[in-house]
């Protein structure tokens, strides 16, 4: 049984302070943090990157590196203060009374050991069961986490399983000795939305069955809405607000929580200005990209990453392409931008078809389609000033340095950055600012089509809201055609006029965003919408305090 004493909290953190090494942006990773987790409840720690939520989770398990020492406070696990416990004592407790699951199941599992063996290790270390009993216990816990075909999974290596299966293995490993506390550090962030829904459901189910306490770290308020009983909001290492989930979500008191929660885009499609009779800027016809397998002695199997895709983007309008990983949405974007070459089909830009043009003829069309990428930290050459990155494009097409610089300065203002910052290097800007610079770089080419390839996926939710607003403004002001690639349905609901849903390379549903979201026809679309966490909650609609 997980915990016998239902009155005492499983985890009681009091005034916990964790120091950062000198030269960081603040002295403490976490400062005087207080919270409890009781048996049978799920507590979420929510915050943006750098808020210290992960550090706190690792501190409970005693997994922090020496550079991040616990300098104050106590951590009571079932009444025992483990904040400064010996390494031996912590080892005894890990996986026995408290367990942790991590964000990336692929890298969190040892690639050279079978899944069964990795869980067996836990049993070998902490119990004296004989081999057959151990195997039975492992098969049992696999069944408990709804794993199909447990004996096969036992003998499989991590790379042979899907993301969802790997996470189930991790959960099984964490639960096999029935701990009282489960710490989950963003366990679903790296998973597809449908898989995420399954894992969240699993965690809820198991927690109900076993009655354990769960400390769930996340940045996603939708997840908080779906599973948390209580939630605590962290900002820069401090806990600004904590309480029952519904209270916090509907009546947040602290200005930071208010700002954060209202930044979450709504699932309800926004009212969009209509652009009747706008001309068609971009159209694909039967766009297909096939990756072939094969070679000497190898099995041939080809993958249709994009299969017969037909989409249209009109001037001044934004088309969203949504789908999970492997759906082909990024492939379509990259084919249109000719970063990869399509296998077949047409990409019409006005009168011209750029799909299969050879490189030297393609060059003059390049300026008409521009793309903003996902990772702001890798989208700018770290050795060149941002000014040089922005003027590179226009100068390729004959603009003089003076003209290009003038254009760059104007664009910096458009994206609300200081024009004098043009001679700084990328590392001197934050992630959100870098993404704005990338938008400026794209606009410097005066394109007809702007593609945003998961352009806000790597940004914190408050930063994301600002960048989305900016993109929407730019589209309206410059009358651009925008193609928005995203896996996040909320983003699509807020900034897209039309949306195409893709599954395994094919477009399964296509239409105005209100139609697709409110009256989905295809089963996959319905499944996607049903899986979105917190879909029924209206974030930002606060009740009077």
């Amino acid at each position: 049984m997980a915990s016998t004493n239902t009155n005492r909290p499983v985890l009681d953190v009091r005034n916990l302070s964790i120091a950062l090494p000198k030269g960081g942006d603040r002295p403490f990773a976490a400062e005087k943090v207080n919270f409890t987790v009781s048996p049978g409840e799920i507590v979420c720690l929510v915050g943006e990157s750098g808020s210290g939520k992960s550090v706190i989770a690792q501190a409970v398990m005693g997994l922090l590196p020496k550079a991040l020492p616990v300098v104050g406070g106590e951590i009571f696990l079932e009444g025992e203060n483990i904040a400064n416990a010996s390494e031996d004592r912590l080892r005894e407790l890990r996986c026995v009374r408290m367990s942790m699951i991590f964000q990336e199941p692929m890298t969190a599992l040892n690639p050279v050991m079978t899944c069964g063996d990795q869980i067996d290790e836990v049993l070998r270390t902490h119990t004296r069961l004989d081999p057959q009993k151990r195997k039975d216990k492992i098969i049992g816990v696999f069944e408990q986490v709804s794993m199909p075909d447990p004996p096969r999974i036992y003998d499989s290596y991590p790379h042979q399983l899907s993301g969802g299966q790997r996470q189930r293995v991790m959960i099984a490993m964490a639960l096999v000795l029935e701990p009282a506390l489960l710490i989950a550090d963003e366990p679903t962030t790296a998973l597809d939305v449908t898989t995420q829904a399954q894992i969240l459901e699993l965690i809820k189910e198991i927690q109900r069955q076993e009655g354990m306490g769960v400390l769930f770290i996340t940045h996603d308020f939708g997840v908080v809405c779906d599973i948390a009983h209580r939630v605590a909001v962290l900002r820069l290492g401090e806990m600004v607000e904590a309480g029952p989930t519904h209270d916090i979500l509907s009546r947040p008191r602290h200005p930071y929580s208010r700002m954060l929660i209202s930044s979450v885009p709504s699932m309800l499609p926004a009212e969009r200005a209509r652009h009747d009779g706008a001309r068609m800027v971009l159209r694909t016809e039967n766009l297909t990209k096939v990756y072939g397998g094969g070679g000497l002695f190898q099995k041939t199997h080809s993958v249709r990453a994009a299969d017969d895709v037909n989409i249209v983007v009109r001037q001044g309008e934004s088309l969203g392409i949504v789908g999970e990983s492997g759906s082909g949405k990024s492939t379509v974007a990259r084919c249109i931008a000719r970063l990869i070459d399509p296998t077949a089909g047409r990409v019409r830009l006005g009168e011209d078809d750029v799909a299969l043009l050879p490189q030297r003829l393609l060059r003059r069309h390049r300026r008409r389609i521009q793309i903003v990428f996902q990772d702001p930290y890798r989208s700018l050459n770290p050795r060149r000033t941002v000014g040089e990155s922005i003027v590179e494009g226009p100068m390729n097409f004959g603009a003089s340095r003076a003209e290009a610089t003038k254009r760059a300065r104007n664009l910096m203002e458009t994206v609300r950055l200081d024009p004098d910052a043009l001679d700084r290097y990328p590392h001197q800007f934050s992630g959100g600012q870098r993404q704005r610079i990338c938008i400026a770089r794209a606009l410097a080419m005066e394109p007809e089509v702007l593609i945003a390839d998961e352009a806000v996926s790597a940004l914190d939710v408050s930063v994301q809201a600002q960048v989305l607003k900016l993109l929407d403004e730019i589209r309206e002001r410059m009358n651009l055609a925008m193609l928005f690639i995203t896996h996040d349905l909320r983003v699509a609901a807020q900034v897209c006029d039309e949306v195409a849903v893709m599954e395994k390379g094919k477009v399964v549903e296509y239409g105005p965003v209100a139609d697709v979201f409110l009256r989905p026809k295809h089963t996959y679309t319905q499944a996607l919408l049903a899986a979105a966490p917190g879909r029924d909650w209206e974030f930002g609609k606060f009740e009077a305090a």
Binding site: G24, L339, R363, N381, L417, S430, M445
Partner: protein
């Protein structure tokens, strides 16, 4: 400064990011390995350049009357005009009466010339081939097969084979040592190119219409500078050792031009009785190679700590 900041986390990150790092030269000089290694190499270079001014006699000068003298002994030298002069042989003389001290100091010249020119040549050629091979797919296949083939022949054997083709001499030795080092540089540069090629900022450059040669020059090549410099110092060290090995085996540079390697080679016969023949050049050789290796380690730690795993 009127930059609009999205939120406080972003502000904190921007603040941290805006702090300028100390310049690269200062960082380099602060690293003990770079400082020590660099100084020693500089000293050796100066010794080689200034050899005539450091109390040496012509290194090839044979004197049968002063054969096999031990270090520190005073000898009498008969001048051309009949007069005699007393001199202390700091490092002894060899079996032909040549002054080891002079030979060792002049030896620095050739050994270092070999080291530097091999490093420079193999880098220049390797970077060119690596850049092109990494970016042009059809070229890559052919080039890598050739590189694999070259790497299949152990370096010293390749050098021996190449030396056997031509007459012994400085150019031959340099050529024979450069060829086996090229594949390693090509591999390194190619792997950097393959990684950088996938970076979003390179894709961005493509989509704003930057032509291939500018992409290679502006975006790809600067990333190769740091690893190549580090690799270059290690090649220099290995080239100095290779020249010594070749000379030791008797197939290096002919002995009228002293190198640390051939001084030791000549001293083999009398090693048991007169170890000073080997001892002194060995010290200079070891210190120099050690210094170059230390320099390389320090450069690697400063220029790109992430590289430490590969090299």
């Amino acid at each position: 400064m009127s930059i609009v900041l999205e939120n406080e986390v972003d502000a904190a990150a921007a603040r941290a990011a805006a702090v300028a790092r100390p310049s690269i030269w200062i960082r380099l000089l602060r690293h003990p390995s770079v400082l020590i290694g660099g100084c020693i190499v500089l000293v050796m270079m100066l010794i080689g350049i200034c050899a005539p001014l450091l109390g040496t006699i012509p290194p090839a000068q044979i004197d049968p009357t002063t054969r096999n003298k031990r270090p520190g002994v005073e000898i009498t030298v008969r001048q051309d005009d009949g007069s005699t002069v007393q001199r202390t042989v700091l490092m002894g003389t060899d079996s032909l009466g040549r002054d080891i001290y002079s030979r060792v100091l002049y030896g620095a010249r050739v050994s270092l010339i070999v080291g530097f020119s091999v490093a420079a040549l193999s880098i220049a050629i390797g970077v060119l081939i690596g850049l092109l091979s990494g970016y042009i797919r059809w070229l890559d296949g052919i080039v890598m097969r050739i590189m694999d083939g070259l790497m299949a022949i152990p370096g010293i054997l390749l050098a021996i084979g190449l030396v056997s083709l031509f007459r012994a001499g400085l150019a031959t030795v340099i050529f024979a040592i450069v060829v086996p080092e090229i594949p390693r540089v090509v591999r390194l540069v190619r792997s950097v190119v393959l990684t950088i090629r996938e970076e979003p900022y390179v894709e961005a450059a493509i989509s704003v219409g930057t032509p291939l040669h500018k992409i290679l020059w502006r975006h790809v090549m600067p990333n190769t500078v740091a690893p190549v410099i580090v690799q270059g110092t290690f090649i220099c060290a290995s080239a100095v050792l290779a020249e010594a090995a070749l000379s030791f085996l008797g197939i290096g540079i002919p002995t009228d031009t002293p190198t640390w390697g051939n001084i030791m080679a000549e001293g083999r016969q009398f090693f048991r009785v007169y170890p000073h023949n080997i001892f002194f050049p060995a010290i200079f050789l070891t210190i120099t190679v050690l210094a170059v290796n230390m320099l390389g380690d320090g450069l690697r730690d400063t220029l790109d700590p992430k590289m430490s795993k590969r090299v």
